[in-house]
């Protein structure tokens, strides 16, 4: 962090120095104006620019003295067209630039660096918070994953339990149905046997009844003929009287 700060300060210092050196160098125009203002034209009226203007007029008129002064001024002005040293500034520029640098550096150290440091610290804190938040979210994700896996395991266990219960219930239902079916079959067999037995008894009873009807019919026919006999009737009455007398009915 400090290296970056120092690098930035060096860049700023270089820019300040260059700009200071550039600001301290004379322009061509100002150099010409300064040379003209400082020039002395012997034998020419006026001073400065007025003298230069009069010199130009005399030279144009063919005055040789004026022509020589004009040539000399031209030679002096040639120096304005010479460029200053682009690498090494003048001492005063170095001094002023150094002072500006120190002032600027102090200002930066006093105002800018804390702000930058504060911003950097905040950024570092944000990044750290983001990292911590990412770690926390990762931990939460891991916890959620663990919970999910636990719930999944529970769900699987529950599903297995339900399947087992369903299987047991199905087995119980199957056994119950089988038992009921067997009971129904046994009941049906028993009823069928009872029906057969009842039909058998009814058939036997019907047969016995029919046989008894036939036998009784035959007996009544024979008896009817016998009862036509007065002696038989008398005997029946006597038997009755005898039975009543003996205490029997």
């Amino acid at each position: 962090m400090s290296r970056r700060l120092w690098a930035a300060a060096a860049v700023i210092v270089a820019v300040v120095v260059l700009s200071a050196s550039a600001a301290s160098a004379k322009t061509v125009g100002s150099c010409i104006l300064d040379e003209i203002a400082a020039a002395e034209f012997e034998g020419i009226e006026g001073e400065g620019f007025t003298a230069a203007k009069n010199l130009k007029t005399l030279a144009a008129a063919g005055d040789e003295h004026a022509e020589e002064l004009k040539v000399a001024l031209g030679d002096d002005l040639e120096g304005c067209f010479d460029a200053p040293n682009p690498i090494i500034p003048e001492v005063k520029e170095i001094v002023w630039g150094g002072l500006a640098f120190v002032v600027l550096l102090a200002l930066m150290y006093w105002k800018l660096f804390p702000v930058v440091k504060n911003l950097m610290d905040q950024r570092t804190q944000r990044i750290q918070d983001a990292i911590d938040d990412a770690d926390r979210q990762r931990a939460e994700a891991a916890e959620v994953k663990a919970n999910y896996e636990a719930e999944l395991a529970d769900a699987k266990a529950e599903a297995a339990r339900i399947v087992d219960e369903a299987r047991e219930q199905a087995g119980a239902v199957r056994a119950d149905l089988q038992a009921r079916a067997e009971a129904d079959i046994a009941d049906m067999r028993e009823r069928a046997a009872a029906d057969v037995e009842a039909s058998k008894r009814q058939a036997i009873a019907d047969l016995q009844s029919e046989v008894s009807d036939i036998a009784l019919g035959a007996a009544e026919a024979v008896l009817g003929r016998s009862l036509e006999d007065p002696e038989m009737q008398r005997q029946l009455v006597d038997d009755y009287i005898a039975s009543v007398g003996a205490g029997q009915d």
């Binding site: 036998a215 007996a219 007065p230 006597d238 007398g245």
Partner: protein
């Protein structure tokens, strides 16, 4: 027995006692009742309220006149005229009971397929008296439907020795 029949029987017995012939009247009344029981046409005619009472009484007098006591004819005529022909059997039975009670005896209604001889009737009466422990008078009803033997009814007790009963028992046994 219906209370009305008992009342009529009491009235008949009172009249017969007054005439001094309760025994004969009750016997004849019993015979008339059995005759009526055996003839649906006669029973329906005497019970028909569309037939004038005088006409019904005339029928009774024609049937019984000269063959029964005047008292018997009169009480039967009175019962028929009162429209109580259907109660005549019950009245006759109760009159017989009253007569027997007056003489300290019981009455047995005896049904036979053929008529009893006098000897059989006496022996049967004696046997029933011995069986019940008191003197019993018998009133014989010839009923061929019993086929043979005897059915004796003394009050609520029935002693059934008929051939029809024996056959019924035999049928039940089968």
């Amino acid at each position: 027995m219906a209370e009305r029949s008992v009342s009529y029987a009491d009235a008949v017995a009172a009249v017969a006692r007054a005439e001094g012939n309760l025994d004969a009247v009750s016997d004849e009344l019993f015979r008339v009742a059995r005759a009526l029981e055996g003839s649906d046409e006669l029973r329906m005619t005497l019970s028909d309220r569309q037939v004038p009472a005088a006409r019904r009484q005339q029928i009774v007098e024609d049937l019984l006149g000269g063959q029964a006591l005047e008292t018997t004819t009169a009480v039967v005529s009175m019962i028929v005229a009162a429209g109580r022909s259907s109660d005549l059997i019950g009245i006759a039975r109760e009159a017989v009971e009253i007569n027997a009670r007056d003489r300290g005896r019981s009455v047995a209604e005896v049904r036979t397929a053929v008529a009893l001889t006098g000897d059989q009737a006496e022996r049967l009466s004696a046997a029933l008296s011995a069986a019940t422990g008191h003197q019993v008078d018998i009133k014989v009803v010839v009923d061929p439907s019993i086929m043979g033997g005897v059915v004796a009814t003394i009050g609520d007790e029935v002693i059934d020795g008929s051939v029809r009963h024996r056959l019924s028992q035999l049928r039940d046994t089968f």
